[in-house]
Symmetry: C2
Subunit: 185 residues, 2 copies
DNA sequence: TAATAATCAAACAATGTGTTTTTTATCAAT
DNA sequence: ATTGATAAAAAACACATTGTTTGATTATTA
């Protein structure tokens, strides 16, 4: 990748991170980004077609970090044995990585409009939930699996938001414990 | 209220209901509303300052229906006795009213951007959750009450979305059962 | 160094928002 | 039924933002 492109993309990412901690996503204009990143209009559009495309790019860039190691270990995560224990480790892992990306998580999750970001998050996270429930013993539970999965995903986001709102007060282990206790049944 | 105003407001509400079932909230322009409602630009702005203000107005109009009777019965809903049973009735009640407002719930909840609507919904629903947990015996549960409340609210929305997505396949009693079973601990 | 690729600056059309003004129609109260 | 008040319509407007295009300039790669 061309050094100039790299520099531009970084500038845009950083500008976005600052702006999303200042104002609502909706209220951020392309012009705001250009000013903060100190680039020209045509340069921005050489990289991204829309603001949403930028957000998706940033989201997936984050999620590479947050889910990468966890994903790599997915094969070694043998959910068929020691189901809860392995799942707990995975969840702890994710919370650790989330904390590394504080600035963006705080900015985006404190935001009014975060649907695109959360849509991407759900996509990534649902893989784990699916493979978890593929091994979960479905005893005496009349709730449809699809609904249970949605609940498991959404509950994670709730716990995540709680953590962010409380300024990462709890340790990743502790917050993972909250999630496991409340969402996994 | 002036008959002319009433007519206009109804026309705008109906136009919105149709449009939200056609396209994303973001993509709906004021012009779309004017065309569909057959009113003039200045008329719209005489009633609402922004599109968001319209959405809030519509949301609260719906929630009056959905929560009204439930709210009226709030005092008679003695959560201190027969906690679960009373709560179940309340939840069933709400689901019944939601079904009466099908068109808007389908349109808005199938939508990518529904944060404003859901924010209002949370506001209304959290009252019940709060008074529920005010009476709930807090035994052997290390999860913070605030987090538990958020989970209870968000889980309701998950179940609601599930119901909407499945075209209201289940009866209100059945879907309420799903909610109680999965969210109340 | 020469070819390539990215940036910049500036101007532009297109779209949407929100305001204003004037004229016309409807309503509510007497 | 008349009248005074209120709402709607129509049209034009300033303004902000988006996304595109141009040509000149600068940095990079090989």
């Amino acid at each position: 990748m061309d050094k100039r492109s790299e520099k531009t993309v970084n500038a845009i990412y950083e500008a976005f991170a600052k702006l999303i901690n200042e104002k609502d996503y909706d209220e951020i204009t392309i012009q705001d980004l250009l000013d903060k990143a100190n680039i020209s209009r045509s340069t921005f559009y050489a990289h991204y077609k829309t603001k949403d495309e930028l957000l998706l790019s940033i989201s997936n860039h984050i999620f590479e970090h947050v889910f990468s190691k966890s994903l790599q270990e997915e094969k070694t995560h043998d959910f068929s044995k020691d189901l809860i224990l392995n799942y707990r480790h995975l969840i702890e892992h994710i919370f650790y990585h989330v904390r590394d990306e504080k600035e963006l998580f705080v900015g985006i999750l404190s935001n009014k409009v975060n649907s695109l970001f959360l849509m991407e998050f759900r996509k990534h996270f649902s893989k784990f939930v699916t493979s978890y429930y593929a091994n979960y013993p479905m005893i005496n539970n009349s709730i449809p699996v699809e609904l249970r999965k949605s609940l498991a995903i959404e509950d994670f986001i709730v716990v995540l938001k709680y953590w962010v709102k409380n300024n990462f007060k709890e340790d990743p282990e502790e917050i993972a414990e909250f999630y496991i206790k409340s969402a996994i049944k």
